[in-house]
């Protein structure tokens, strides 16, 4: 309970707020006195894992963050990457896992709202959203409720604001049963000259609160995100906020207008920890202080205390520092959009976050103490015990399939592989008329109006791989994202990431976290795609079981000339199919093992050879740019056979394949070896393409021809000398399509 004025602090109250005894001592040292209740609340929320990154900070240092295209790396509300012509892309990904577990619709909706604000607060117009989702099994009614609610929440919010949701991913695995993951990425477009930052500079400049009124909703949201879900979580329901996408749309337009006006010094959205984090972060970045009179903050409810006002996470609000003398002009702009903008304080030179109620000071804290002096923990880590047991895979004991057709059909209807149309049909993915490649291909592509340029976007992460080997899994997440962009004809530029893990106080989780980040860092370095920011979501566990380590990678790529964009669908009868890369004897972690052998997560994930990956990507990208490639699709879950089937289905045309069976047939067709891209080319370009691939020294195999109404796969003896080809698959494209397209819808009925 919040004490009334002058009452002392209840002993141990800091623990209820999530601070340790040592952290409480540190607070006292910083202040040189006991904090009062409001101050303690402010420290607790700013030093929560969610806001302070106290556990992850030392590990996040591994990420490469610099590169020739990077205009803004980690530390701001979103990253920025240059795309030439004085234009740039602003992007960031964020999680809303815990709120979505409790109230899927509003949890996901407000997640969209938050990430949109992170992008337009930089001055960029949001042009795309992507969503990366993880749930338990769809057989479970609760999963269906969560999945349905999350998708309609994203749809309800994003569609209304008018930002297209153009891509994403959805996976289903038991580890996410009670703790689904909802990660949303937003991408915006900006001219370099319009870039704004979250800094409160210029002593005496007014500080304004704009947008929605402050209510009691979401108090403690950040603290809530920093602990495990439990039975009592349901009781923390006030932590759930309701979003108002219409208000967000107004706020978006008004903020962009006000930023263009030149009156704005700094601007930041009120996300987790609301008024608290926005004010102290803006002051801290500028090395200034902020003084606010809380009695001036517009509120929805009567009788709100300073503590509640500072910790509320009411949505659709921003904190804006404007140039002296321009507050009235700024108010006018907001009024045009029927929004309130109120001066609540000013920038000061003493570095203090000083809060008053009228004349009376209710809190006084050095702003930088809340941000820069937050505790940092080098938590112990050690290899988890489960690892050696799950990594073991006695391949010899796994029988090869008798019926390859059945395996392929089962894979196509596995929710992890099946069409995600049920999801993206609910998202407006076309508003803005920039969507040149819609969801359903390897990466979405948006045009940049008025130029020949295109932006390619994707999110990727295979949590199962990361569970089996977080280092390799982390590398693969980055490599696959880049590969997806390359398949669209784009040069991968930069990464944002959302690191979803369990409780980091457990050495095993900490080990997963470190290894995943190390793997990602290595791949980012190798592929020259620096990290510009992201989000860490810990404590994704219930009753002692953590989710699969899931470091979602969001990546942005550039297509210089949209005439040379590429999609995954097979185009014309007679086109030649070539696989770039090579297939190894790898089955570990595959969807095939789960679907055909009931092994959810077993073996080691496929090997990641970054040198090979780089070569494959360069060769394919260059071939696309030379106009030699008619379709490109990467092999991911389900392997070669599924990739071929997907290209057939999206092209509405068949293919005939002859492949040398130099390894086990199931590994050949369903194994998930990395660094493979299936491309097609017109017959008259084959010679040139092959010459080029040879010069580039990448391994490749000519697989067959596009045509007909069936996908036919024949296996040949090694050496191809004797014997007839073994026809293992001959399936009508229409039948595969039916299974693939209908699988999720059928489960959701």
């Amino acid at each position: 309970m919040e004490p009334r004025n002058n009452e002392g602090l209840k002993p141990g109250i800091w623990r209820e707020m999530g601070l340790t005894d040592a952290e409480f001592e540190k607070v006292k040292n910083i202040l040189g006195r006991e904090p009062n209740y409001v101050e303690l609340g402010i420290f607790a929320v700013m030093w929560s894992e969610h806001c302070s990154y106290k556990t992850s900070r030392p590990v996040l240092k591994f990420f490469p963050t610099r590169g020739e295209h990077i205009l803004q790396g980690p530390g701001e509300n979103a990253g920025i990457v240059d795309i030439g012509d004085g234009q740039a892309v602003v992007f960031k990904i964020e999680s809303h896992n815990h709120p979505s577990a409790i109230e899927p619709y509003q949890g996901a909706a407000t997640g969209v709202g938050g990430i949109l604000r992170d992008v337009f607060t930089m001055g960029a117009r949001p042009i795309a959203l992507l969503d990366s989702l993880r749930f338990g099994s769809l057989q479970n009614p609760r999963t269906r409720y969560l999945f349905g609610g999350v998708v309609s929440g994203i749809s309800g919010y994003g569609n209304c604001v008018g930002v297209p949701t153009v891509g994403g991913e959805v996976y289903f695995a038991p580890s996410y049963e009670e703790n689904p993951l909802v990660n949303v990425m937003c991408v915006g477009l900006i001219d370099h000259k319009d870039i704004k930052k979250g800094t409160a500079s210029g002593i005496g400049n007014p500080v304004m609160v704009v947008g929605a009124r402050t209510g009691r909703d979401g108090i403690h949201g950040a603290t809530f995100a920093s602990e495990e879900l439990s039975e009592e979580s349901a009781e923390k329901r006030p932590a759930v906020q309701v979003g108002d996408p219409f208000m967000e749309k107004l706020l978006l337009e008004a903020c962009l207008e006000v930023i263009k006006s030149g009156y704005v010094v700094g601007i930041q959205d009120m996300g987790a920890a609301g008024l608290t984090s926005s004010s102290c972060e803006m002051a801290s970045r500028a090395g200034t202080g902020i003084e606010m009179d809380l009695s001036l903050v517009p509120r929805r409810e009567e009788g709100m205390t300073p503590y509640e006002l500072m910790l509320s996470e009411s949505q659709e609000r921003m904190l804006v520092v404007v140039k002296k003398g321009t507050a009235e002009k700024v108010k006018e702009i907001f009024a045009r959009w029927d929004l309130e903008a109120v001066v609540v304080g000013r920038v000061t030179g003493d570095g203090m976050l000083r809060l008053t109620e009228g004349e009376q000071v209710v809190a006084e804290i050095p702003a930088q103490a809340l941000t820069d002096e937050a505790p940092v923990y080098e938590r112990p880590y050690s290899e988890p015990e489960y690892l050696s047991a799950v990594q073991e895979l006695p391949v010899a004991k796994i029988p090869q399939p008798v019926d390859y057709e059945r395996v392929l059909m089962d894979l196509l209807s596995s929710p992890n592989i099946a069409s995600k149309e049920w999801v993206y049909r609910q998202y407006d993915h076309m508003v803005g008329t920039n969507t040149v490649v819609r969801p359903g291909s390897d990466a979405a592509v948006l045009r940049v109006k008025g130029t020949k340029k295109g932006i390619a976007l994707t999110t990727d992460c295979n949590g199962r791989y990361c569970y089996l080997d977080p280092y390799t899994g982390g590398m693969i997440a980055v490599a696959e994202a880049a590969r997806n962009l390359v398949c669209a004809g784009a040069k991968p530029l930069a990464v944002t990431n959302c690191l979803n893990f369990g409780n980091p106080e457990k050495p095993a989780v900490m080990w997963q976290f470190r290894r995943a980040v190390e793997g990602m860092s290595e791949a980012c370095r190798s592929l020259n795609t620096p990290v510009t920011g992201g989000n860490v979501s810990f404590y994704n566990e219930t009753r002692e079981t953590a989710v699969y380590p899931t470091p979602t990678v969001g990546m942005v790529g550039l297509i210089e000339d949209l005439d040379y964009r590429c999609t995954q669908d097979f185009k014309d009868e007679g086109d030649i199919i070539i696989m770039v890369g090579e297939t190894r004897m790898e089955l570990g972690g595959s969807e095939y093992l789960r679907v055909a052998h009931g092994l959810e997560a077993k073996g080691r994930p496929p090997k990641m050879d970054l040198e090979l990956e780089k070569k494959v990507q360069q060769a394919v990208l260059e071939s696309i740019k030379r106009g030699l490639v008619k379709s490109a699709h990467d092999c991911s879950e389900g392997g070669l056979a599924v990739a071929l089937a997907e290209s057939c289905i999206s092209g509405g045309i068949g293919a005939e394949i002859y492949s040398v069976e130099n390894i086990r047939g199931d590994a050949l067709l369903f194994g998930e070896s990395q660094s493979r891209i299936i491309i097609t080319t017109a017959e008259n370009n084959v010679a040139e393409l092959i010459r080029y691939l040879t010069v580039m020294e990448v391994p490749f195999t000519r697989l067959g021809t596009v045509g007909g109404r069936e996908l036919k796969i024949n296996l040949l003896d090694p050496g191809c000398a004797a014997g007839r080809p073994r026809a293992v698959i001959n399936l009508p494209v229409s039948e595969m399509e039916k299974r693939w397209r209908g699988a999720i819808e059928c489960l959701m009925k």
Binding site: E103, G215, R216, P238, V240, D244, F246, R300, E301, S314
Partner: protein, 82 residues
């Protein structure tokens, strides 16, 4: 046969964007004396139950499980025999 009239409303402290939008619009239309609008849902359900108590229990049940979202909503209902 019973008819249940079910009223589902957002909890008091939960933001009601719909209500605010309607209030604003009513004000713009000149109804300035409208102080507050809250928007909820209203369901009319025909229940074929043996008795009043059974029907009542069932409606409670349905509200909790499906019709209302207990995280942000409250419900009440009236039951009449028809």
């Amino acid at each position: 046969m019973y008819q249940a009239k079910i009223y589902i409303t957002l909890r008091q402290s939960v933001l009601d964007p719909q209500g605010s939008a309607v209030t604003r619009s009513l004000h713009a239309m000149g109804y300035e004396n409208i102080k507050d609008v809250r928007v909820g849902r209203y369901l009319v359900v025909e229940v074929d139950a043996a008795g009043r108590e059974a029907a009542e229990e069932q409606v409670h049940d349905m509200c909790k499980k499906l019709l209302a979202n207990p995280v942000i909503e409250d419900y009440t209902f009236e039951l009449v025999e028809v």
